[in-house]
């Protein structure tokens, strides 16, 4: 059964973490 994303605190936390890692990775790769 699909889990509503809005309530899943862990998903919200990880979305922030994943986005920050992606940005940092981009900056690292393009340095």
């Amino acid at each position: 059964m699909p889990r509503p994303v809005f309530q899943d605190r862990a998903v919200r936390m990880f979305a922030i973490i994943a986005a920050a890692i992606a940005v940092a990775m981009l900056a690292f790769v393009l340095r």
Partner: protein
């Protein structure tokens, strides 16, 4: 009748725990530190593909080591956010770090894959055969095995404690092989700063496991418990009461503890259960449904048997409703346990706020402990709605699953703005109830959920 939470109903937990921002910030500090250290040491990149390969390895391995910290059941990490949320974070992070770590060896020479595919693959094959890369290849293969076992666990007929032991052993081997790989062949990790960062983080990760399996059980030896009572409440539903030999457990209503039964606390066989009794008493009670593994043997537990508790844990407490005028509790089956604990705590604290319990079950004899619920009525401003999906003849309560169709008529009567909603039950019930709350326009910040079954 309205009011605010009485002081005595407020949290007894004074631990210094991180909130969401603290956890995300700490996680990112550790996950991104290798980038910063590598960028300081090697300010110039050596090509996009090579740097992307290194970047995936750096962040992936840092995240892998942090997996140990997330499962350490530390109150600093899970005390405020909820340890179930942290364990879910562990599961989600595992997927991302696995993709990053597994992909990284294929990325270094990626441009050559398009210009000369044969050379690309032969170079990769040559690398896997080189002794210097043996630890990296081993870590890569073990990570595949660990993830396969983790994702297939529901379908593998392996006892939980065997799975847990193999998960821990594989994780340690991957962490050590990964550390050797980073220090032996990692170009960026040759710099002392990054080298020592990996050694320190790996040591912290491995200590976490040692703490969980040795130090914490050893500390539990100071606080042995005894099974005081095992009582059948209804079909496959049991009340298990424990009494401490020494100190009682200080907990907030709604919290849970991991329970081990056996002569010593070093067993890997333990299960989390919500406490159904109110805080403050020496004796604590759990409401347990037979669902497999340990729970199917609950009825055979003998009073007097030795038991051990790791807790309290969980953020499913009235702390989230300090400013609420009304509290709605949506419980399914034994998801009633933390809700009943909260209601008992509110009653003993003289909490005059409005409480509304919606309690869903399949049939009427599963409404347990009904006598305890009804005993609360005189001392609380409490409305109880029972919902049954298979009601008996003459049932006058609500009928159906805990879906929006069933719940909306029950929940529409109150003021949404001043209400905090608590949901506890099987995942399908929680998911369906969330749809009902979404239809009512309840913001996520006013919903508190707890569930243990994920993927």
């Amino acid at each position: 009748m309205t009011g605010s939470a009485p002081e005595s109903a407020r949290s007894t937990c004074t631990c210094a725990a991180l909130g969401v921002a603290g956890i995300v910030g700490a996680y990112l500090s550790l996950a991104l530190a290798p980038f910063a250290l590598a960028a300081i040491t090697a300010p110039q990149g050596s090509g996009v593909a090579a740097e992307l390969g290194s970047g995936l390895a750096l962040a992936g391995y840092a995240m892998l080591l942090m997996q140990f910290l997330l499962t350490g059941r530390f109150r600093t990490i899970g005390g405020r956010v909820g340890i179930d949320v942290i364990l879910r974070l562990h599961q989600i992070a595992a997927r991302m770090l696995t993709v990053m770590v597994l992909l990284h060896p294929f990325v270094y020479g990626l441009p050559r894959l398009f210009s000369d595919p044969a050379a690309y693959w032969s170079s990769l094959a040559r690398m896997t055969m080189m002794p210097a890369f043996a630890s990296g290849v081993a870590a890569w293969l073990l990570l595949v095995a660990l993830m396969a076992m983790a994702l297939l666990r529901p379908r593998l007929a392996i006892p939980y404690e065997c799975w847990r032991a193999s998960h821990g052993i594989l994780a340690v081997l991957i962490a050590l092989a990964g550390l050797h790989h980073a220090l032996a062949v990692g170009g960026l990790s040759a710099a002392p700063a990054l080298r020592w960062f990996w050694i320190a983080l790996a040591a912290l990760a491995l200590y976490t496991l040692f703490h969980s399996y040795v130090v914490r059980p050893w500390l539990q030896l100071r606080d042995p418990w005894r099974i005081a009572e095992v009582r059948a409440l209804g079909p496959a539903r049991w009340l298990v009461a424990l009494e401490p030999d020494n100190r009682p457990l200080a907990f907030d209503a709604g919290q849970f503890a991991w329970l081990k039964v056996g002569p010593h606390p070093f067993s890997l066989r333990e299960n989390p259960f919500s406490i159904v009794s109110a805080p403050g008493a020496r004796r604590i009670e759990f409401l347990i449904r037979e669902a497999g593994d340990f729970t199917s043997t609950v009825g055979t537990l003998e009073p007097g048997a030795r038991a051990w508790l790791d807790g309290p844990h969980g953020a499913f407490t009235l702390r989230a409703a300090m400013d609420a005028k009304r509290i709605v509790l949506l419980a399914g089956g034994v998801g009633l346990a933390p809700c009943l604990s909260m209601l008992r705590a509110a009653a003993s604290a003289g909490d005059l706020r409005q409480y509304h319990l919606v309690f869903g079950n399949r049939c009427e004899d599963q409404i347990v402990p009904r006598d305890a619920l009804e005993a609360l009525a005189p001392s609380l401003n409490l409305k109880v709605d029972y919902v049954l999906s298979e009601p008996p003849a003459g049932w006058t309560g609500a009928v159906g699953q805990m879906t929006p169709q069933t719940l909306l008529p029950l929940l529409r009567s109150g003021d949404v703005a001043g209400t905090v909603y608590y949901l506890c039950g099987p995942p399908p019930m929680v998911t369906a109830s969330l749809r009902a709350l979404a239809a009512l326009g309840v913001p996520a910040s006013r919903i508190v959920t707890e569930r243990f079954d994920y993927d």
